[in-house]
């Protein structure tokens, strides 16, 4: 039955992968089912909650809205690619210290959204953090400690403003 399926090649967390799969299968399902990268979560299946957020060619996407055909040749980054060996990524460390993760189901997507935000803007203001994370729903934290986590992750890098340090609350 899979004769008509194309082979899709894509780089996931820096590693080239090839999957033979229906062209319209969601990137989310390919990651979870074909590549067994279950860190990326499904929350709504319609691009509203952001739990399935991954980076695709340096853009933040909802992987539940991306047919795999569209990811042919793409570079995908998921939560599994954030930590370097045993070392947590600065954002992961900040989320742990600041209480940015509670139930953890939105966390992988939130981390990818925060990664995207800081890649584009290493020292975001509070308003920019709120905007950057607005596509990712968290039902546990009320977001406050997620904002603090993002600020904490940027704390040791140069160019941080006093306003950032104080406007989290």
């Amino acid at each position: 039955m899979n004769k008509g399926w194309p082979t899709i090649r894509l780089a996931v967390n820096g590693e080239m992968r090839a999957v033979r799969t229906p062209a319209m299968k969601r990137l989310l399902d390919v990651l979870r089912e074909d590549l067994h990268l279950t860190g990326t979560k499904e929350g709504c299946g319609e691009g509203e909650c952001g739990s399935c957020s991954v980076r695709m060619n340096g853009e933040l996407v909802n992987s539940c809205l991306v047919p795999i055909l569209q990811a042919e040749g793409a570079s995908i980054e998921t939560v599994e690619g954030l930590a370097c060996d045993a070392e947590l990524h600065p954002l992961q460390k900040a989320f742990l210290d600041c209480g940015g993760a509670q139930c953890g189901i939105c966390t992988p997507g939130m981390l990818m959204a925060a990664t995207q935000l800081l890649a584009q803007n290493p020292h975001p203001s509070m308003a920019e953090i709120r905007e950057g994370l607005a596509g990712n729903l968290c039902r546990c934290t009320g977001f406050i400690r997620i904002f603090e986590s993002v600020i904490a992750a940027t704390a040791n890098s140069p160019g941080r403003t006093t306003e950032q340090a104080t406007d989290a609350r």
């Binding site: 279950t38 509203e48 599994e80 139930c103 953890g104 966390t107 729903l137 039902r139």
Partner: protein, 753 residues
Amino acid sequence: MNTCATTRIVGTPVPRKEGVDKLLGRARYVDDIEMDGLWHGATVRSSIPRGLIRSIGFDRKVDWNEFTVVTAADIPGQNHVQLIAADQPCLADGKVSHCDEAILLIAHADKQKVREAVNSVRIEYEPLPPIFTIEESEEQKIVIWGSDNIFKSFLLEKGDVESAWAKAAHIVEGEYRTGAQEHLYIENNGMIAAYSAEKGLTVWGSLQCPYYVHRSLVAVFNLSEDKVRVIQTETGGAFGGKEDYPSTLAAHASLLAMKSGHPVKMVYDRMEDLAATTKRHPSRVRHRTALDKKGKLLAMDIEVATDGGAYSTLSSTVLSRATLHSAGPYVCPNVRVRSCSWATNTVPYGAFRGFGAPQAIFAVERHMDEIAVAIGIDPIELRRRNFLHDGDTTATEQVMREPVILDKLLDRALTESSYEEKRARFARENRHNPVKRGMGIAAFYHGSGFTGSGERYLNSLAGIDVTTEGKLRVLVANTEFGQGTNTILTQIAAEAIGLDYNDVIMAPADTSIVPNSGPTVASRTSMVVGRLIERACAQLIAMLSEHAELDEQFTTAEFFAACDRYRAAKGDVVSLCRYEAPPGIFWDDQKYRGEAYPAFAWSVQVAQVAVDTVTYSAEVEEFWSAQEVGRVLNPVLAGGQIEGGIAQGIGYALYEKVILQNGHMANNQMTNYIMPTAEDVPPIHVYFEEIPFQHGAFGAKGIGELPHDGPAPAILNAIKDAIGVSFNSIPLLPEDLFAKLSTPQTLEEPTAV
């Protein structure tokens, strides 16, 4: 007893126990689990709110031999979901009582084929007339449940309300309504079940209460207790929404697993989860209040009505908590609360953070502001004159034996929010600004733990053991779903023994491993279960000193060496403790009188809102919350509980509306059921006052539900302050503001006699 200054681990912000796994994306939620031979299950649901099932037809184009199909006839034991009563069928048998009620289950190896098969089943009904509102249910013209549509009613009486009306200087009446609210945990309900004749049933799932699921499966499958094993997987949010529903879903997955011979996974998509699972009870609360000329409460006559949906589920206990929170944190000599939960043909309403209290507190705290206007007293002053203090009695005549610091919490909240200064400034600025700002408050308590005799009936058992790998392990059936159970309980154990936080682990929430320490609900885990762990630790030290030569002072190595000696001599190193009620706790279920809760958590919240009179949007600009929850065991987790609860409360007040059409949730998507996002939640300021509670673990009381109780009344009180118009119903959406504000002034002033 003040233990605040003397602990090493309790009271510190140690990182979340399972935090690293969650951050690395390797925590295993139910949908992340794969198994050999795994099939996928799906549910065929009713499309009408009430009727008889005439026939079930299967599309002949589908080869049904490939599928496993389960109906009520396949249930080996009792066809009901075992909860408080046994009225809810596991699968509809001959009739349906709400839309989206489960009728038929289908499983197949291919997930896509199962979805298609669900749409290839045709059910013919003979419709019966449905009812959808409290008012229709009260009329009793159509009776859909029992003989009168009443799931439960309570009468609480203190003093004599009727004697007060004639003496009153003021009588103020009001009616307040709250809508349904969806939990919107980001992980939908999900369960995997496997069956073998030898091992019996095993289920893995997203759930709060392993032993509730266990008990339900024993009844549905008529199996002995040792043939049912329930294992909680990492759970992506719950908020009460995974208290009772997992019992139903576990039974469904198990029925398919038993009949198909395969392990079966059932994970709902968002639309199914929203349409078919429980939500917060809608409510209508009426107040009639008598006051003397100084604004002291003389009598409170309160009627609480909740919409329970089609089956009784937890409606009686939700109503109980609503009843016990309906008079607010005030002293009043004469109180009568008549409460009733009504059946309607909608999906059963269930547990949701606060459990009846948010509905009752919305009413009483909104009503206090209406009273203030009616009798011409400042709303802050009115509350101060009537607050409970040490030694006062509540509506159930429970004496306040622990310190009550409402005045202090109020002062803190007012100071931190610059309440008076802002009110004055906004009053000036609002005249010239289409955006009107206002400040509002709410003061309230939340009873910690089960109501009345509840904890006695639960009779929880919890404890610790020591593994051969040299870890102290916490043995509880209490589950982690984001609120911090793992962290708090291991902190308590580490503190109580004198070990490092990293020396303590959690046993898996698996009914074959952990004892029944009760459900993870009712803000009871830290206070009640934590206390059991604290006691079990003291008991273990005593055991080791008696039987394994553990000295009074010991190092970690000496402790584990003593455990090894004990194990060699006597076997497993285990210490379990059973619940003992604090002394002097008495509750009369018949008269609804006595110690309603072993402890209360207290809070005063302040909301600052802006109402745009051009766009009719209302938003919360800033929020302050001062609370006393006993000892704060972990400041980061505690702060997160308060902030998260407030965000949900803001959603409850201003965003979240369940729209029912013919009893079916019409907006069952995240696209159109709207919760606050990162751009909507205001800065939230959290202040703890700590008064250790001597019967809670290291002084802890309940915390999880408290913060959700206050935002809705605080926000609507602030809206009244901003625009001078009262709204007594939530959710309050821009269209509701438009409907009232765009009509030439028909200001509904509260009735003052």
